[in-house]
């Protein structure tokens, strides 16, 4: 089982500050890390490898800081990492990023399964899994919260299928499909391990490859700001005009809050 795990480094969302006068987010200089969904995808890949053998490759597109961020993936258990940090890829929209990832996967060539977070922690758009599945002409499953690999034999040929539990709004749907496939996972899938110190130290010795546009055969009309077909007009924190009346004395707080709620008319007697 050769598994490719696609990962995205995102800024630490809990450290975002909002400029009070302009409502713009301040994101500069914040630490970059992998989201929970991605870590679950990697954890699952490592577990599948432990059971079925094969190789786990972590693949990521992003800023040059990936050279550091990706080490966590290698420490957790990826055998190899491929990062794509060329400035040509900057400011890509989802279609541009999907093209880079799909072309890199195509270059890797041998794979049975592509795992990734169903959505990234920052945008939560969920566009990448379906888009790369379409570009690679593969079936997809999203919102997977349980996975099982089934290896069989059909008249002398080895068969590999995946059984996934898809988390819908009102039901869990158990589906089965032949590999290769693209599977987007949620954080219910597993509890990602923390890399032990020895693994962190060893991570530096695992292969870390950097691929540029020529390596994957992509040109500037397919990726980056110029190829983007989604224009962002604004990105601002919504206006929050809250009273922020905080009581540190419990007795006073209870009395005053109940009084205020009656005055606000949100509770009726």
């Amino acid at each position: 089982m050769n598994i490719i795990v696609c990962m995205k480094q995102v800024i630490d969302l809990e450290q975002i500050r909002i400029k009070p006068n302009t409502r713009e987010p301040v994101t500069k200089g914040l630490p970059l890390l992998f989201g929970d969904f991605e870590k679950c995808a990697l954890e699952e890949a490592v577990r599948i490898q432990e059971k079925h053998g094969g190789k786990v490759t972590a693949l990521a597109v992003g800023s040059p800081k990936l050279k550091d961020t990706i080490k966590e993936a290698l420490a957790i258990g990826a055998d190899e990492a491929i990062i794509l940090t060329d400035p040509m890829f900057n400011d890509s929209d989802a279609m541009g990023s999907a093209r880079v990832i799909a072309k890199a996967i195509h270059k890797i060539g041998e794979y049975d399964l592509i795992l990734l977070g169903d959505s990234s922690a920052d945008e939560y758009s969920g566009e990448i899994p379906p888009r790369i599945a379409e570009l690679l002409d593969l079936p997809q499953v999203g919102f997977a919260r349980e996975l099982e690999i089934l290896e069989g034999n059909d008249q002398g040929t080895n068969t590999k299928t995946i059984r996934a539990v898809r988390d819908l709004e009102d039901a869990l749907e158990v589906v089965e499909l032949d590999l290769p496939a693209v599977v987007g996972v949620t954080s219910e899938l597993n509890t990602p391990r923390l890399a032990p110190l020895s693994a962190i130290l060893k991570a530096g010795r695992k292969p870390l490859n950097e691929w540029g546009p020529e390596d994957i055969g992509i040109t500037a009309d397919e990726v980056g700001a110029n190829a983007s077909v989604v224009e962002v007009l604004s990105n601002l924190a919504p206006v929050q005009d809250r009273k922020e009346i905080i009581y540190e004395d419990v007795e006073e707080g209870v009395a005053e809050v109940v009084k205020a709620l009656l005055q606000e008319g949100v509770l009726t007697q």
Partner: protein, 320 residues
């Protein structure tokens, strides 16, 4: 290409999108149509005309069962060609979220999922969605020839119009059968119903120590005639409440008159689900908790002390 197509596997969502679509269609000067897939698509067509569709493209094929995103994307691409449509509005359900980007990629088009607002400015469709983990709202315009927009499924209510008539157009689709097999469908455990429609919403977070302590919270919920929700860990890690009670970016959004946060630190992934509450009250033992920054009223204190006192006070006010 000039037209808007609406599609959702949920009838109510499709009718809500048609209701909003009427306004957009008139402002953008485009015809509005609906795509209906699967068995009895024809039976559902007539009703859509009362919500603004002037054409209903109906299609059925054995390849549409069970759901496979690639097949549905192919079907909708063919319908968009028939309709000569440049915009498609899809309900951003879990199915819709798997489908919309796949369709967009088939069309080499831009896509926005989980849209929370649609409007027209300078003859362009402006789509808003949350960004940066809910910290911000970004306004976007799709500039590709075709546009795929997945809209939050309960964003627009379905409102019938007076009159309304249209044409039913059967489409024969060329589809490859799905390779995905559905082995089983297990209905999820249902909690206490539509948190989206709560007048008063009480949510608990990690401040609660034990599932048994829910017995402390329930009388408070009852005293204000509220509904009980929670943050992600409570439902998805501890399983103290059902998953449909989770409020936040990947769960329910609600606009109650009163939102009461108990033992919730106030991470944006949760609070984004209640930002539109009229009044926010928070109880937390950490006075620096971010929840107090978005609260109208707050009580700093141990919830195990505050909640019984608050419940008693509310019960005496409301005589329950």
């Amino acid at each position: 290409m000039n037209g808007i197509v609406v599609y959702s596997e949920l009838e109510e969502t499709a009718l809500g999108l048609l209701t909003k679509g009427r306004e957009l269609a008139s402002e953008l000067n485009k015809p509005l149509s609906v795509a209906l897939l699967g068995e009895q698509a024809g039976d559902r067509a007539e009703n859509t005309f009362g919500y603004g569709a002037t054409q209903a493209f109906i299609a059925d094929s054995p390849a549409l069962t069970p759901f496979q995103a690639s097949t549905y994307a192919a079907a909708l691409k063919q319908i968009m060609t028939h309709a000569e449509a440049d915009i498609i509005l899809i309900g951003s359900t879990r199915r819709g979220r798997e489908l919309a980007p796949r369709l967009a990629q088939k069309l080499s088009a831009g896509c926005v999922t989980d849209a929370i607002s649609l409007s027209v400015e300078d003859n362009r469709l402006i789509v808003e969605r949350r960004a940066l983990g809910g910290n911000t709202v970004s306004a976007k315009v799709i500039t590709s020839q075709q546009q795929v927009v997945a809209v939050m499924p309960k964003l627009y209510d379905a409102e019938p119009m007076t009159g309304g008539a249209g044409e039913v157009i059967p489409v024969s689709l060329e589809l490859q059968g799905p390779t995905t097999k559905v082995l089983e469908r297990r209905p999820k455990e249902v909690g206490i119903g539509n948190l989206e429609e709560a007048d008063v919403l009480v949510c608990i977070g990690r401040g609660l120590n034990d599932k048994g302590d829910l017995s402390l919270i329930q009388p408070l919920v009852d005293s204000v005639g509220g509904m009980l929700g929670c943050t992600r860990p409570i439902s998805h890690e501890y399983h103290w409440l059902t998953e449909d009670q989770m409020v936040g970016l990947s769960g329910k959004e609600s606009s109650p008159n009163l939102y009461l946060a108990i033992g919730i630190s106030g991470q944006i992934q949760h609070t984004v689900g209640v930002m539109n509450a009229k009044v926010i009250v928070a109880i937390n033992n950490d006075k620096n908790a971010p929840i107090f920054k978005i609260a109208d009223y707050g009580i700093v204190g141990d919830l195990y002390q505050v909640v019984p006192k608050l419940t008693e006070k509310l019960q005496s006010e409301f005589g329950q």
